[in-house]
């Protein structure tokens, strides 16, 4: 098993390298980015002479070096944990990013769990009662979740949360608990708030997972070994729980991999609507102000997150499915 993990870890490296190149290109992409605008502004104000600030700026971003050197320097710094300096916030990116990344992961994981909690039982139900009323009903509900734009649903739920349950609008905590140390009260408060993003992000993915689950199950239900088990006299519920779900759960574990990018995307937009202290709003601000190093760091970190998610799902898969482990 450890050999397997090691192999997978090594395989991540080229992937991450290519991602870093793409991100670096993104950073370089905007024509009127904030650094050139800053320089233009400084020059307009009479800074042709290379003052310390302008030199520091240019040095920080290696504006005079060839692209390859710039890239290498950037990635070296990145690997060493120096994510650069945000021009917009006049602060090191490091001080801005970590708390928010934590909340992003929290919301993404919560949404993933919510998606599963919803999609798995419904998927099973739909598969067992294929073409029944419930099957159609859940299909339509799932489609609704998929079809309502995330930001619209977030807004509507925010309104409902406020007007029905008195949940404070926006944010992940009530103001009085936001900075309090962790306690059961704070945790409950988090639960009171996190359900909106969880539902919004979760429902967007539920439809597809539900359908995957249903299809997988239908597939599995007709597999010979299920018939074997039926022939053994195993009862339907036990049958479904023991065999197909067990098998169909594998693709689920692999959803961690491919669902994560979706979840993080959904998280970004919902956080912007609900003003959650995650990466989404800051990323948007960074992009709007073309603070590309901040934006680039975010995208890079989010990508690393998904790659790690994929790794995790591979490891889980290997743990669950002996065939993969022995390959």
């Amino acid at each position: 098993m450890s050999g397997f993990i090691l192999r997978r870890l090594l395989a991540m490296i080229p992937t991450l390298l290519i991602i870093s190149v793409i991100v670096f290109i993104l950073i370089q992409l905007p024509p009127g980015d904030i650094i050139s605008a800053t320089l233009a502004s400084l020059q307009q104000q009479g800074m042709e002479v290379s003052t310390e600030q302008i030199a520091a700026l240019r040095a920080q971003y290696n504006l005079d070096d060839p692209m390859v050197v710039q890239y290498l320097r950037w990635i070296t710094h990145f690997v060493q944990g120096d994510l650069g300096y945000s021009i917009k916030y006049q602060q090191p990116v490091n001080t801005l990013i970590w708390d928010r990344l934590g909340y992003t992961v929290l919301i993404a994981v919560a949404s993933l769990l919510f998606t599963w909690a919803l999609a798995i039982p419904i998927g099973i139900y739909s598969a067992v009662r294929q073409y029944g009323f419930g099957d159609y009903f859940f299909t339509v509900v799932g489609l609704l979740g998929l079809a309502i734009p995330n930001f619209m649903l977030a807004l509507i739920l925010m309104y409902c949360g406020y007007s029905w349950f008195g949940v404070s609008v926006g944010g992940l905590f009530s103001p009085e608990l936001a900075e309090a140390p962790w306690s059961s009260a704070k945790f409950m408060d988090l639960l009171k708030h996190i359900w909106i993003p969880m539902i919004v992000i979760g429902t967007a993915g539920t439809a597809s997972i539900m359908r995957v689950m249903r299809a997988n199950l239908l597939d599995e239900l007709s597999k010979p070994y299920v018939v074997t088990a039926r022939a053994k006299g195993v009862r339907p519920l036990k049958l479904i729980m023991k065999y197909p779900v067990r098998i169909a759960i594998n693709p689920f574990i692999s959803t961690i991999g491919w669902l994560l990018p979706t979840l993080i995307s959904g998280e970004a937009i919902v956080s912007i609507v609900l003003n959650l202290p995650t990466t989404g709003p800051l990323l948007l601000q960074a992009l709007l102000s073309q603070d590309m190093y901040l934006a680039g760091s975010f995208i890079m970190l989010l990508s690393i997150l998904t790659v790690l998610g994929m790794l995790l799902s591979d490891i889980l898969l290997a743990a669950l499915d002996p065939r993969i482990r022995y390959e």
Binding site: I148, P149, P261, I264
Partner: protein, 369 residues
């Protein structure tokens, strides 16, 4: 177990159609989509006003009710609407609209109304429905500037729906080409392409889209931005399709008829396009159908974030961006009507795609994950 053999003479296309027809929902969705695409295509005719026309007498005015019964004349065959009577409530500052029964505007069908340039080709003024010159017709109400939501939804449909279609077309071209190359050539090429796809798929889509669209130069024309967004959306979407195509190619290239074609000296491209592609066209079409709603939703998301399409272009995303606040839900819910259309179209595409998949591939459609 036994499989039907007595109907071998039924062609597979007809069989697919028969199976498709059994999916009532898919069929209905298909019809709905055809109707809405046609409406969008001819939106100049179906809309009452141009998308940016304003009626300063109707700021945040609610939808007008279509009446058949006149208090004086009783039932009328020709439906009509009443004009608005506006008062600004001094306590609430709310613009309160009531029906002004002294102003009655009969609905006219196929009558001349606001002039427009049809597809920028020729001028015309006939509308599907309109009211006489002195009146106004706002079936879905108006927005903060007094623009007609009904007309804007139709014009927005043109942009959003065509964007989905064009985006998916580009996705197919990229996906089939790249996936086909990987699957057909194999070896190094395949490896490189495979790795690229993996990489692209592990970057969270929306942030990447946001970054790319934020990088679109600010001075680009609305049309430029429109195509820019299409390219950006397709930039990631192709990977999924490419994977599928590659897989099929790998499987197919060992099939007898391909080998035969190769032995007969057919060129690689010819083999790909004459022999390989048609063999899973139905799959591509289905995948494409299921990808369109994703594109439409992505556009609304980007526009909502302010990095997508911008006024004066009217898309559903642009319309919804203006509906993004509490005030809308509480005071002017009709601004959410474009959202209803987004939802309907997305659902319709999904049902249609599902139906098509089941029809084309009744036994193998389940491995889509």
């Amino acid at each position: 177990m036994s499989s039907p053999q007595l109907l071998q003479d039924v062609s597979s296309a007809r069989l697919t159609w028969l199976r498709f027809k059994r999916h009532r929902l898919a069929l209905a969705s298909g019809i709905f989509l055809v109707v809405i695409y046609l409406t969008a295509g001819f939106c100049e005719f179906f809309a009452v006003y141009e998308p940016n026309s304003r009626n300063p007498r109707a700021i945040y005015a609610p939808p007008q009710q279509v009446h058949f019964i006149d208090p004086v004349e009783g039932f009328q065959l020709r439906p009509f609407v009443y004009g608005y009577h506006l008062t600004i409530n001094p306590d609430t500052w709310v613009r309160e609209y009531t029906e002004d029964h002294s102003q009655k505007f009969p609905l006219q069908f196929f009558a001349p109304g606001e002039a427009y340039q049809f597809w920028n080709l020729f001028g015309a003024s006939r509308h599907f429905v309109t009211v006489p010159d002195t009146g106004y017709l706002h079936l879905f109400g108006t927005d903060k500037l007094g623009r007609d939501i009904f007309s804007r939804v139709l014009y927005g449909a043109r942009i959003s729906l065509s964007l989905g279609l064009l985006g998916v077309a580009l996705t197919i071209v990229l996906g089939v080409l790249i996936g086909g190359l990987a699957g057909y050539l194999g070896g190094m090429v395949d490896n490189v392409i495979q790795r690229t796809i993996e990489v692209l798929q592990s970057i969270p889509t929306l942030p990447l889209w946001m970054a790319l669209s934020a990088a679109l130069p600010p001075h680009w024309s609305p049309l430029g931005v429109y195509f820019g967004i299409i390219v950006i959306l397709s930039f990631i979407q192709w990977t999924g399709l490419a994977r599928v195509v590659r897989g099929r190619f790998l499987a197919l290239r060992e099939e007898d008829f391909v080998v035969a074609a190769r032995l007969l000296g057919a060129g690689r491209l010819r083999i790909i396009f004459r022999h390989l592609l048609p063999s899973f066209m139905s799959h591509i079409i289905t995948t494409a159908t299921l990808a369109i709603p994703g594109m439409i939703l992505a556009e609304t998301a980007l526009s909502f974030l302010g990095v997508g399409l911008r006024a004066p272009i009217v898309s559903w995303g642009v319309l919804l961006q203006q509906a993004q606040n509490f005030q809308v839900i509480i005071l002017t819910p009709w601004l959410l009507i474009p959202g209803v259309f987004v939802v309907l179209v997305v659902i319709a595409f999904n049902l249609l795609g599902d139906g098509m998949r089941d029809a084309a591939d009744p036994y193998g459609g389940s491995n889509s994950a």
